[in-house]
Symmetry: C2
Subunit: 400 residues, 2 copies
Amino acid sequence: MDVIVGGGVVGLSVAWRLAREGRPVTVVDPAPASGASHAAAGMLAPVSEVTYTEAPLLRLGVAALRRWPAFAAALAEDAALPPAGPEGVSGLDLRAEGTLDVAFGADDMAALDELAAFMEKLDLPVERLTGRECRRLEPMLAPSVRGGLLAPGDAWVNPRRVTAALLAALERRGVPIVRARVSELVRTDGAVTGVRLAEPPAEPPAEPPAGPAEGRGSAPLAATDGRAGDEVLAAERVVLAAGAWSGELAEVPVRPVKGQIMRLRSPQPLLTRCVRGTVHGSPVYLVPRGDGELVVGATQEELGYDTRVTAGGLYELLRDARELVPGVTELEVADVVAGLRPGTPDNLPVIGPGRTPGLTYATGHHRGGVLMAPLTAAILMGEESELAALCSPGRFREIS
Amino acid sequence: MDVIVGGGVVGLSVAWRLAREGRPVTVVDPAPASGASHAAAGMLAPVSEVTYTEAPLLRLGVAALRRWPAFAAALAEDAALPPAGPEGVSGLDLRAEGTLDVAFGADDMAALDELAAFMEKLDLPVERLTGRECRRLEPMLAPSVRGGLLAPGDAWVNPRRVTAALLAALERRGVPIVRARVSELVRTDGAVTGVRLAEPPAEPPAEPPAGPAEGRGSAPLAATDGRAGDEVLAAERVVLAAGAWSGELAEVPVRPVKGQIMRLRSPQPLLTRCVRGTVHGSPVYLVPRGDGELVVGATQEELGYDTRVTAGGLYELLRDARELVPGVTELEVADVVAGLRPGTPDNLPVIGPGRTPGLTYATGHHRGGVLMAPLTAAILMGEESELAALCSPGRFREIS
């Protein structure tokens, strides 16, 4: 049996893929579908102001985006998602109207020119727009927007719906979800042979994710090895998909990168596309959902395992969102959360077996967990050997 | 029996006072200790940038502040409050270190000069301070603060502790709290003779106030008058203390004035005094609690019965708080709520009997409900005839 440690979007996608291949699999997570997956905005945008100079990451992102339509269609079917919710939003709220990057000053405009040239060189679809053209596409944009770049191929999805659908699909396939924390990987003769489960948390998580998670039974645990208060779940292979916490269980150079993100509620959608910009030197994006929700993200903070929502983080998001789209002022604040992204030294994920038999990695996705979840599952199935090399755990000497 | 409609700080204070005088009394509120009392910061500061030109309101405020120490001591005893909580904060968190009004620009400085002159004329204690003196008192103040005004007599209290203590004191005295909404006042031959209770809410309020509210029984209801689904509670006198909703039950010119307010959590207190200032033309205040909580308030919005927390309201609070005390940036956001203050045309409360026999008003306290609650109870006991005249319902022709 494969044991997946971590029930975020990556771990659940891997588990679902394995289940569809007929492999026995179990997911272990004290609070599935929480953490960074619960916080994420869900942009499926391989090219951004942050990543365009990083060619390997861009290659991964482009390949990852291509996998999304088929992944979403199969997931909607396998999870038996209803065709449309009461608010007229169907399935995973996957949309592909593109991303609009906007510029305010001369520096921003120059940066967009460079980005456009780079994308054209790679044959990626891109359109350079004047300020007026930007506002014609998105009338709520600030009058001070001077120009923009439309990436018409970019898409986005609601990550909370994705993880809820993955949990539903896993349930329909009879995959057990063990709601417990893994305290350590169990090693026998130098190989990983299972996971040790800590006591399950006494209380449910403070913010249980919405979705069809009710009534899902826990798996029967395999064995105890005589240590008080914990149990061992044996595994032929352990897939470590514990996001920012992966480094607590194995030697993998993953660090938490805190992101604070806000969800606003709008009676009518203010935007039809994802809108991004750089305000006061910090990148901000606005992601519109079909139900009128508008996601504003996200801070990037190196503060360790800190998930406090702070006055400063909230201020930054609100200030920058107002600068892009002044009309957000009138919207209700529905939700503010902080998540921890799993960052790596080279910003690339860590996917595949390491040096220890029985241990496989699926972590380090940083800001790209939702985008890269389907691709990650494919890499683990051996479908993308060239891309797999970019993500190989072996590139880090310290990985065990 | 007196029936108090409204279990906010005013209604509960009136009920407690009546109970201490040995009068039979019942409080009716679907969610006691919520609403504006739950949102309020609890400043006991009669002089502020808003009210100092309004002499009658100032007289009321000064008299109201004088009543607070005895009120707080009697309440702590009657509620059997423990001497100190686990975090070292005792009782109601009543503190009297004064208010510091600060100025940034020449206009603000001139306004503080005027305010100081006005206070000196009234023999109110006041000290004019330089920017450096302000920062000596409060080292976390922004370097751009140019001067300030210390009102050393001002105090503040934690309103959530006050309402929790009032509920505890009422319980100890056996005063029933009926958790139901009043749908209308019952009138017989031109007099108010009771209240009609709507069905109690099916669900508890979204944010139940903390405190010793558990286990309090509802009062037995007096009678039904044959109308389906509601019951009548007979009363010799009805005291209307329903805050911003008072106008729904009687002809009284009270309107909702929305206030959004934020609570931050600090490991150590950032301030020792209440700090106020005018930033970008809007007044902001910071109220420090003994447990490290820092309250930032408050917007003033005329939007009807709208209690949404909005992006714009939150932005304003955060921006202004940062301007006064840049260190707030690091603090955790613990709580953001919106409450509705009961505003009146002349900014004075409405206290006392109206023209209708059996009906007494205790409403319209706008921003001063916490400050004026003890005084309001005293006025209703006939102790302050001169001040009572200022608050007389008869000054409004439309009051019934």
